[in-house]
C-alpha cells in the first residue's frame, strides 16, 4: 500500500470480550495498517472523537455480548453530524442475543450505518481483504 491507512479497533459499549479485537488489531498491523487500538468497552462517542483526531479511514468494531444494537442506536446520526460520513464502518462478533440468522443481522446493522457486518468466528484475513478492497475502491490506497 503506497499510503498507510489508519484504522480504529475496539469493542463497543460494555462489551468486555477483548480477545477478538486484540487478534484483529495485531493482524491489521501485520498487514501494514496504522492501528489505533482502543481495546474494550469503547463508547460510540469515543470511537467518533478518536476518528476525528486521527482522521481514520475505517473503524472495525467488535461486539460479542449481544447488546451491540442497544449500544449503537444513534451512532449513525452522531457520526454523520461529526462529519464522518465517508469513514468505513465494519463490525463483527456475536451481534445479537441468541442463535441468529446472519442475513437478518447484516440487514439490521447495515441499517445502523455499517458497511460490512461479520458473523461470529470470522477469520481476520477475510475482513482485512475486504478492507483493502473497499479502501482501493475509494482511492484511499
Amino acid at each position: 500500500m503506497k499510503r498507510v491507512p489508519t484504522v480504529i479497533t475496539g469493542t463497543v459499549g460494555m462489551d468486555a470480550h477483548v480477545i477478538g479485537t486484540k487478534v484483529l488489531s495485531r493482524a491489521l498491523r501485520d498487514s501494514g495498517f496504522k492501528v489505533v487500538e482502543l481495546g474494550m468497552q469503547v463508547s460510540p462517542e469515543e470511537f467518533i472523537s478518536v476518528a476525528q483526531e486521527t482522521r481514520a479511514d475505517a473503524i472495525l468494531m467488535t461486539s460479542l455480548y449481544g447488546m451491540a444494537e442497544l449500544d449503537l442506536k444513534d451512532f449513525n446520526e452522531k457520526r454523520l453530524e461529526a462529519g464522518l460520513g465517508d469513514i468505513l464502518l465494519y463490525i463483527g462478533g456475536n451481534l445479537v442475543i441468541g442463535r441468529s440468522d446472519p442475513g437478518e443481522v447484516e440487514k439490521k446493522f447495515k441499517a445502523l450505518g455499517f458497511d460490512r457486518v461479520y458473523p461470529p468466528e470470522t477469520d481476520t484475513e477475510a475482513g482485512i481483504a475486504d478492507l483493502k478492497k473497499d479502501l482501493k475502491a475509494r482511492g484511499k490506497i
Binding site: 480477545i19 487478534v23 474494550m40 447488546m67 442497544l70 441468541g98 442463535r99 461470529p120
Partner: protein
Amino acid sequence: MKKPRVLNKRIDDDLLMKKRRAELDKWPTGKEVDFDEAVAYQKSLPDSKVWWKVMVKLQEEGRMSVFPRAGTPVLEQMIELCQGLRESGVVLIPVTTDSYTRLGQFEKVEAALKESTRTGKPLLNGFPIINHGVKNTRKLIESVDAAFSPRGAGGDIAIAAGMTTFEGCMPFITWGSYAKRTTMRELVAKWQELSGTVGWYADRGVILCTDLHGWLPGAPFPLSVNIATLVIEALTAAAQGQKALYPLVHCMGNMAQDMAWIRLAPRIIREYLDMFGYKDCRIVGACPAQTPLFPVAMDMGGAFAYLSYVAMVGALAKTNAVDLRTIDEGAGVPTKETHKVSYRAAKWIFDVVREQKIEIQIKDIEIEEKITEAEVRSILDRILDLGDGDIVDGTIKAVEAGVLDSPWSPNINVKDKVLGVRDARGACRYLEFGNLPIPGHIKEFHREKIAEREKLEGKKADYHTAVRDLWGLSRGKIVGLPPYDK
C-alpha cells in the same frame, strides 16, 4: 519473612451496614431488603436450596450436577428455564445477570426489561436481579427445588431473596477479565469494602458458599497462574469470614493435565488455608469447567462431544459438579431447549460413568501434577516474599512485576508478557514465561515439549501458533496428527 497472613482490615459492622445501605439505595428495590428478615429467611431454607449443603450431599453420595449458566430477563421465562434445568438433573443453578446490571446501569436495564417483558423478546443478556428485586427473585427461587447463585451482581438483594452464594474473595476474574483500567490496589480496596457481608452472615449462622474462578486463562495456557490465584482467592475469602468454597478447574482438553489440575487445586488450597489458620473454612468440592474455551457456533456434533468430554473428565475425576456450556455456547445465549438437551447428555454420562466409581490412573497425571505444583509453589513463594508474608500486599506487587501474568487480558494494568501454546499431545505449555518465577528445569520441560510439536509441524512455534490454538479444542483438533489423507 513475617508469618503468613492476609492484609485485611475487615471493616466493622456499622460501617459495613452503612455501605450496604448506600449500595442498596442506588435503586428502589433496595428498600425491599430487611437484613434481619433476610437472615431469618435464609435460615428457613430447606437443605436443597443451600448451595454448600447441596455440594456436600452430592460429594458424599457420589453424584454430580451440571453447574450451568442461565440468565434471561423476563421472570416467567427465567422460571421456565430453571425448571427445565432441574428436570435435566441440575440442582445448582447460577443466575447470570446482564452486563448493564454488572455495571450498575439500572435505568438502562429498567427500560430494556420493560421492553423485553412487553414483547417477550429478551433485550438483556441475563437476569437483572437488582431491578427484579427481592419479591420477584424469590418467586423464581421458590418455584424450583434447587440452590441458586447470583452471577456477576445481585449482592444483598440476591441473598435476601434466598440465593445461597456470595463472593467473599478478591475476585481476579472481575479485574482480569471484565475490567479495563482497574488496578490491583483498587480491587483490594473494593474487596475489603464489600466482602464483609459474607462474614456478617456467617456470624449470624448463615453460611454462604462461593466458587473460585481464579485469573481466567483466556486461552490455552498452563494452569499454574490460575491455581496460584485460586489459592489467593481462597485466602482472601476466608479472611472475610467465608466458610465454604470450591475451585473451578478450567479444563484445556488434555486429559492428563485436566485430571492433574482437578486433583491439585483443592489439595493445595486446603494446604494454604490450613497454613494461614483458616481450618474452619471447608472446601466442598471441585468443579471442572468448560470455560474459557468454547465450541464453535455451527457444529452441533462437536459441541456435544466437547461437553461430553468435560463431563467425562469430571466423572472420572469423581467431582461433584461440572461447569458446562450448552451446544449453543458459540452461537449465542442458549434457549430452554438447548439447555435441556445439552445437560441431558451430561446427566447420561454422570449417571453411567460417575456411578461406576472408576479407579483410574493415567501415567502422565503424576508428571503434570508435579510440574504444575512446582510452578504454583514458586509463584506463591515469590508473592509471599514480595509481600513479606502478606499475601495481598504480595499480590499487588506480583501483578506490577509480572510475577502474576496472563495473556489476552483486557486490563491495561496487566503486563501481558506471557503466552501459551499446545504441545504435540495438546497439553498447554509456556511459550513465553515473561517474569513468571518458573524454576529453570521446568522451563526446560516446557521448551522440550514445544520442540516436539515444532518437529511434528515442521515450523517454529510463535504468536501465530498461539492464535491458531485459541480455536484448537473448539474445532476438535488439539495438535496431534496431520489430516488422514496427507
